[in-house]
């Protein structure tokens, strides 16, 4: 069999293995909780696109820096348009990305070291690294999804740079895919540097540079120009709000220490499924050590100038893509940062596979190497009681998606929420509204002071001002504009939103003057849902912190009977059977005069709505930052 065909076959078989492994893991982990946090955000945008409504980049992307989520939704939308159930479409996209990742890695390794190298490299990713399986089990359109494309691009570059005459169109295709990859995730800029170095190092440089750059820029520029006219402004061609200088400023020597100390467990899905002190975690260390040894060995060979050019390219890729981990640990924290390990592990797996396959040509040593690597791979999938990171049911996922609808000070209130709500399913709507309510409950307290300062700065001259009825900054200071977000949906949907507002307002255990202003903007008859949210927040704080802290409330008047009943209802809903008594969470002066009966009238979309919040931090100004 020709080497090229051999590599393709290996790639295809390993890609299929990866897809099957992920599909089995997803199925066995429970179809009732198919979503990971953040997945429904992509899905809602994809539904909008499938309906022919292409939202602007700043509405469809979950964050101004996450342009990949808009592209990921665009990839998903044809599947929805074809009539596939949304969960199936999501998971098909996730499996396809994982298959590409495993297949490209195995194919590249097979091309360099034969079938054994390809099989070993592919097995490391598909079977040996639950962390990768967990990261790929969610279709979030981030660095994880781009990793497969990066490896495929690297392979294509290695193939092209072997040839003396490279057709311009082939470089152009690489350039276009590269441009799109950079828009998807800035992480791909590292690969861009390597590809440029590999392709422009030989041959007619000017011609090749033109073939590479023009398609790349042609793909990138429209996205760079599709800026949010009111949102954070970016500089130059950047698609990110944080420039390289901002990112580098985050670095210090402790990041390197964290990276190295975390590396032995990088293959493991370190979530709540395996405790940080579980001995099972140690079973993953040998394979991690082998991968690190492969990287180290390649470095030694590179220094001695004995490493072939394609392997040097892989080595630089693995080491280069490790660099963003230094920042990822700061920005995301662990275990979220583990997803950035994907390209590093892929590069190391290629080097390991090729190294074993090209060991001194004595069959026994190669066989020993294969068995050793295989033995290290084996614990991967089977030591993780749960390999995926999809723990949310549909209402729970909608709750988190609702919280993700970021609004910036420059935007009119509720814009993204309004544009995307029509694409939320009926069975998601309550969760979506509760989530958006949490967002509003948090954000009013944060944004109103800023809006007040901006409003003061706007009026620097007695004759300069935007008229009040059309002044968006003024509107941001008005609680009634915030609290009216869901009025257009009518009842009972509005009540779910108000429940969320109460949750968000009392998330930190404090109802200050601003929160009270939100409450005061509601008619008395509508305040029960808000108070149920407040009670749920108190019960949730009890659930996580294990101690009852009395609500700090700026008003010193007793609650009405209906408000007290609703608060108590919320408290027992999240606090459970052991929920503290009302005396422990409500100051005596706030007690209603009559006995209370808990009346939780609305059902929470998530039994523990602060699951992804930092509840360990107490105090205004350090309140939980929402889902991660």
């Amino acid at each position: 069999m020709k080497p090229w065909r051999q590599a393709s076959t290996t790639a295809a078989v390993m890609a299929l293995l990866g897809a099957v492994v992920l599909a089995v893991a997803l199925q066995s982990d429970g179809a009732a909780t198919p979503f990971g946090p953040g997945e429904l955000d992509v899905l809602v945008t994809a539904r909008s696109m499938a309906a022919g409504v292409w939202p602007p980049l700043w509405v469809g992307a979950v964050h101004p820096d996450a342009t990949g989520t808009w592209l990921g939704a665009a990839v998903l939308s044809p599947l929805l348009r074809l009539g596939l159930p949304d969960v199936l479409a999501l998971k098909l996209a996730a499996c396809a990305h994982f298959a590409l990742f495993v297949g490209a890695t195995a194919g590249f390794a097979a091309r360099r070291g034969g079938v054994v190298a390809g099989a070993l490299a592919g097995s490391v990713l598909a079977l040996g690294a639950p962390a990768l399986l967990a990261a790929q089990s969610k279709y979030l359109a981030t660095t994880v999804e781009i990793a497969g494309i990066e490896v495929a691009l690297l392979w294509a570059t290695a193939e092209l740079s072997r040839r003396e005459r490279v057709p311009g169109w082939a470089i152009g295709v690489v350039g276009a895919v590269l441009g799109l990859a950079i828009i998807y995730s800035l992480h791909a800029a590292i690969v861009a540097l390597l590809i440029a170095g590999a392709l422009l190092g030989t041959g007619p440089r000017l011609r090749r540079a033109a073939w590479l750059l023009i398609p790349a820029l042609a793909v990138m520029l429209p996205f760079s120009w599709m800026r949010d006219p009111l949102g954070p402004q970016r500089t130059g061609l950047s698609v990110k709000t944080l420039g390289p200088g901002d990112l580098l400023a985050l670095l210090d020597i402790s990041d390197l220490g964290t990276l190295l100390s975390r590396a032995p467990f990088a293959l493991l899905h370190e979530t709540e499924h395996i405790g940080p002190d579980s001995p099972l975690r140690l079973l993953h260390v040998p394979l991690a050590a082998l991968l690190a040894a492969a990287l180290l060995g390649a470095v030694v060979l590179a220094v001695r100038r004995r490493l072939p050019h394609p392997e040097l390219l892989v080595l630089l890729f693995a080491v280069g893509t490790a660099a963003p981990l230094l920042v990822a640990g700061d920005l995301l924290g662990y275990p979220a940062a583990y997803r950035y390990y994907a390209p590093v592990i892929a590069g190391a797996a290629i080097l390991l596979g090729v190294g074993v396959a090209r060991a001194p040509r004595r069959e026994r040593s190669v066989a020993i190497g294969i068995v050793a690597v295989g033995a290290c791979i084996a614990p991967g999938l089977f030591t993780a009681p749960r390999a995926t990171a999809t723990e949310l049911s549909r209402p729970m996922a909608a709750f988190f998606a609702g919280q993700h609808r970021l609004g910036f000070a420059q935007h009119p209130l509720h814009t993204q929420f309004l544009m995307l709500t029509p694409f939320v399913r009926d069975d998601e709507l309550a969760g979506w509204l509760q989530g958006y309510g949490v967002h509003v409950g948090r954000e009013f307290t944060r944004q109103q002071p800023t809006a007040l300062i901006e409003l003061r700065d706007e009026g620097t001259s007695p004759h300069v001002a935007i008229p009040g009825p059309v002044n968006r900054t003024l509107h941001k200071t008005l609680p009634q504009r915030w609290i009216a977000a869901a009025d257009w949906l009518g009842e009972p949907h509005r009540q779910h939103f108000l429940l969320g507002v109460g949750l968000g307002a009392a998330e930190d255990g404090v109802l200050d003057a601003r929160d009270s202003a939100l409450l005061g903007a509601l008619p008395a008859a509508d305040q029960s849902a808000f108070w149920q949210g407040v009670g749920s927040a108190l019960g949730e704080r009890w659930f996580w912190a294990g101690q009852a802290v009395p609500l700090v409330y700026s008003q010193e008047v007793p609650l009405s009977e209906s408000a007290g009943n609703a608060l108590l209802g919320g408290l027992v809903t999240t606090g459970g059977r052991d929920a503290p008594s009302l005396d422990r969470v409500l100051a005596p002066g706030l007690h209603p005069s009559r006995p209370l009966h808990p009346t939780p009238s609305l059902r929470l979309a998530h039994p523990h709505p602060f699951t992804y919040a930092d509840l360990g931090v107490v105090g205004r100004g350090e309140v939980p930052m929402g889902p991660r």
Binding site: P469, V470, A484, L489
Partner: protein, 193 residues
Amino acid sequence: MGFARCAALLVGWVALLAGCRVPPERNPPPALSAPAIVSVVLSDAHPLAGAARLAVRRLNESRAPSERPVQLEIGPRASAGQVLVPVTADAPGSFAGLILVPRRGSLPESHQVDPAMPLDLLGDDLLAAHALGLYDAVLLAGVVARSGPDATADLLVARLRATAGRFALGEISYAQSLEPPLGPSAIVRELPR
């Protein structure tokens, strides 16, 4: 084209039609449905068009969830049901709706200028008053028109009477009269549609 390709195209086309064509489970909110149109009788190249565009930008930046977007039409023609904001007193009258005629004259002491107003419109007192008058007229027309889906003349007048606030030329209220001392005067014309 071979039979297989034709069949594949046909199957693909049918699948697309049968698929998830319209996922939304509910209608878009009023804020995203048909825009309220504000027509300004003015040539597109007229310097005052900048004031009208700025006013519409402010309207759209500030709309509430229950309000409609506002679309500006600049030109000599207006169709039935639209809110018309003529710049000149001799505007064509082939419409049904509300006309807001900007005040002319000197700037009142209580005026306030939008910081984004084109500077060339603020050259002298009379020109500035005219520009701010048009700006106010478009704002008021937009505020009235965006607040509901209907645009009958009676409804528009009722909403106008309930509208009060501080605009560019000062405090404007139509509660007492459709010709307030500072703001644009309002005219209602009902003609067969």
